[in-house]
């Protein structure tokens, strides 16, 4: 070894030495982007006030996260996009004309109480945006149920209020709903486009489906939760949805109206699929979705509120750890206990 070798600097770390390009922040920002079509439709139907509400909600969420992490001397993780996403989801779940302090309170509850006090990203039991909304609905029942009438005109001179389709369905029945919207085709079309009263980001089915298709295509969500959630709700709506009112009958409900109204699509594709608060095992996700669909319809048809998506998801969130335990994956090569017993015999 006579020659003098140039010294190299070697980097030493543990295997694997390559990693996929996927990052938490890319996922969060992608989900945020997938919600933009629905947000834009909300802005179109409900005007600048809707944009203002959503913006306040996002800013409050990000600030809450920043201040909390700063105060506790933690790593500032605002750029991972999770707070922006929570703020956006909360804003989309609010009625368009709420006063400015409503989204601020909601974001505070969502970020500080629901997420950070439970340990931050990855450790919260409940969907933060939904707890924020639940808190607001219970604390400000009146403000949270004033529904602005959608108009296609961007500038609103007079803000009329009206009832949501689910509200009409609950209070006055399906006949009244038909009266308001004219005929069935028109009802479906309006619901599909989003020309109806409701929370800012929940009304436009087409915009939500575009965002959902993007997430499914990119593999950020899988079909398991949305399919089981919506499927269960549709079946229950069909079987029991027609029972109320005069001349009610089984198997006479309208599943399409139920799927397209309220927060059903927003909930099934964007809220129930929250990684942190849903089960991680695919088989368990199906049970989770069925539970959400069942509870949603129970509340809608029998409960005190016209809409049940929010409470349904929050309640089923509690079961996620248990579901994951129950649906533990099968270890490669292992045979089921029952089968093993048979072999022994």
């Amino acid at each position: 070894m006579a020659e003098i070798k140039k010294e190299h600097q070697l980097i030493v770390s543990v295997s694997p030495h390559i990693k996929s390009e996927e990052t938490t922040s890319r996922i969060m920002w992608s989900v945020t982007a997938s919600l933009l079509p629905a947000t834009i439709m909300g802005a179109y139907f409900f005007g600048p006030r809707a944009i203002f509400t959503v913006a306040i909600s996002i800013i409050a969420a990000v600030l809450s996260e920043y201040i909390f992490q700063k105060a506790l001397n933690r790593k500032i993780a605002v750029s991972d996009g999770s707070a922006v996403l929570t703020g956006l989801l909360l804003g989309m779940n609010l009625p368009p004309s709420v006063p400015f302090y409503i989204p601020i309170i909601g974001s505070f509850v969502a970020i500080i109480i629901t997420k950070q006090l439970f340990g931050g990203l990855g450790f919260n039991v409940f969907n933060p945006a939904l707890i924020g909304r639940a808190f607001l609905l219970i604390s400000f029942p009146k403000l949270m149920t004033i529904w602005k009438e959608p108009t296609a005109a961007f500038v609103h001179l007079d803000a009329k209020t009206t009832a949501t389709p689910l509200g009409i369905l609950k209070e006055e029945g399906v006949a009244k709903l038909m009266e308001v919207f004219g005929d069935k085709i028109n009802l479906y079309t309006q619901l599909f486009v989003g020309h109806r009263a409701g929370s800012i980001g929940e009304t436009s089915a087409i915009a939500l489906l575009i965002g959902a298709a993007f997430l499914l295509y990119r593999g950020y969500i899988s079909w398991h939760i949305p399919a089981s959630f919506l499927g269960t709700a549709a079946v229950i709506a069909w079987i029991f949805g027609g029972l109320s009112g005069k001349g009610g009958a089984l198997f006479a409900g309208d599943p399409i109206v139920h799927l397209l109204s309220g927060g059903m699509l927003l909930g099934a594709f964007f809220m129930a699929t929250d990684y942190v608060t849903c089960p991680s095992v695919k088989k368990g996700q199906i049970l989770f979705g069925i539970g959400c669909g069942f509870l949603t319809m129970l509340i809608r048809l029998k409960g005190g509120y016209p809409e049940g998506v929010m409470f349904a998801i929050l309640i089923i969130n509690c079961f996620s750890p248990l579901i994951d335990r129950g649906f533990k994956t099968r270890v490669f090569g292992a045979i089921k206990e029952t089968k093993a017993k048979e072999i022994k015999k």
Partner: protein, 435 residues
């Protein structure tokens, strides 16, 4: 037709294009070699030479102690100039013999026996054992041990592992292209030793020319079947390969022989052929030197004991002064802290990753429970739970999540969006609890 495969797995970029066209070339003779006495799983060898002694190429310098062990031979002719503790690529210090190469390439003994197939299975197995052959895919488990299944575990299938599922590596690929006949002969010897009449060669389908070459070479052999496998990591993991080729599942913590299978690597098969026919011990192997950080990627025939720094030099050197040099593939290989470590029987590749491609392990976030690792774990484990439990110090609890079934393929860590060092957390737990 759907290709044979297993459940789970990942699709990292295979990067084989860097070296796949490079014909196997022999390195220039090293000035000296450093030959460790432990290059295998099992008991270290007993030193059988002393400083100053002249040795010939192929002469045993370490003899096995115990059944699970393998002899070590000199890869050059020359003089023993030092015996001492030297590091392996993993950083482990082992007793090694340093031999100065006299360049004469004098063989201790080497004779051609074209009638090797007439030898009895036991004689053939003896040849494999004496040649010091170990699994050359990376694990380096002594080959003759796998060829001695206990009576209660009858073996009916031999599978050659040509999956080479680690990205970048092309050593087995080149071997299948350049010496397909020798691979088939190796397989036939294995089948004769085990008294088996079903042989398979599993090859990932990103090497269609290798599949063709092997099919052609095995065309006269009715009981050898070539299986094209889906391109998916870790297709070449023993259990996954068996599942894909013959549809059998090795039970948890079990061995391939529990389902009647013996798996050997392509390189091992060729070494077995050379041992049976020529009595040639395992003193050289093919090493893929590759990666974006090396000037000229190559597939090299390397004498065991050659230093990695010599190989780097042979390939034009590193492109930049700072780099990560990995012994083995990018998924399961070890990052080296020194280039002055020898190539051993299990060194399948030397991978040079430039600094900009290195992801720093300390920047990781919390588990967001996205479930990606659960979906892809080839062993059906829940890596997310294992990593969270281990991170929080709940080591005993990791056993409820089948800690010891993890074979550390690294797929979970590859897909994790939070860049969590899942495998490392699993290794930590494994080191702290008893099975």
């Amino acid at each position: 037709m759907a290709l044979a495969t297993f459940k789970g797995g990942i699709h990292p970029p295979d990067k084989k294009e860097l070296s796949k066209e490079k014909i196997i070339s022999t390195t220039k003779p090293p000035k000296r070699v450093v030959i460790p006495l432990v290059q295998h799983i099992g008991a270290p060898c007993k030193l059988s030479v002393s400083v100053g002694q002249e040795v010939k190429k192929g002469e045993a310098i370490g003899t096995p102690e115990g059944f699970v062990s393998a002899p070590v031979h000199s890869s050059v002719s020359g003089k023993v100039i030092a015996i001492g503790e030297f590091p392996l690529a993993t950083g482990r210090m082992v007793t090694s013999v340093v031999i100065e190469n006299d360049g004469k390439e004098e063989w201790a003994s080497l004779k051609d026996n074209p009638d090797y197939m007439k030898l009895s299975p036991d004689e053939l197995k003896g040849k494999v054992k004496d040649a010091g052959i170990v699994g050359m895919g990376g694990a380096a488990f002594p080959a003759h041990v796998k060829l001695s299944p206990p009576k209660e575990k009858p073996v009916d299938v031999v599978i050659l592992n040509g999956a080479e599922c680690e990205p970048y590596l092309t050593a087995d690929y080149r071997l299948m292209l350049e010496r397909p006949q020798d691979v088939v002969e190796g397989l036939k010897i294995l089948m004769r030793i085990l008294g088996v009449n079903k042989g398979f060669i599993g090859i990932e389908n990103n090497k269609p020319d290798a599949v063709e070459a092997m099919k052609k070479a095995a065309s006269g052999e009715g009981n050898i079947q070539i299986c094209a496998l889906e391109v998916k990591y870790p297709q070449g993991a023993e259990k996954m390969l068996i599942r894909a080729t013959v549809g059998r599942e090795v039970p948890p913590r079990g061995l391939p022989m529990d389902v009647g299978v013996v798996v050997q690597n392509i390189g091992t098969a060729v070494a077995i052929y050379e041992a049976a026919r020529y009595g040639k011990p395992l003193i050289e192997r093919i090493v893929t030197v590759t990666g974006e950080g090396i000037k000229e990627p190559k597939n090299l025939m390397v004498k065991i004991g050659t230093l990695v720094s010599d190989l780097i030099e042979e390939c034009g050197g590193l492109k930049s002064e700072v780099a990560k040099v990995v012994s083995g593939g990018p998924m399961m290989g070890f990052a080296m802290y020194s280039l002055d470590v020898p190539v051993t029987k299990g060194t399948s590749g030397v991978l040079v990753l430039p600094e900009e491609g290195v992801i720093h392990a300390e920047d990781f976030g919390p588990c967001i429970r996205c479930g990606r690792c659960i979906d892809i774990c080839p062993m059906g484990l829940m890596p997310s739970m294992l990593s969270v439990l281990s991170e929080r110090g709940f080591y005993e609890e990791t056993k409820d999540y089948n800690l010891f079934d993890c074979f550390e393929c690294g797929s979970c860590t590859y897909v994790c969006p939070s860049k969590r060092p899942i495998v490392q957390l699993i290794r930590l737990a494994k080191s702290l609890v008893k099975p």
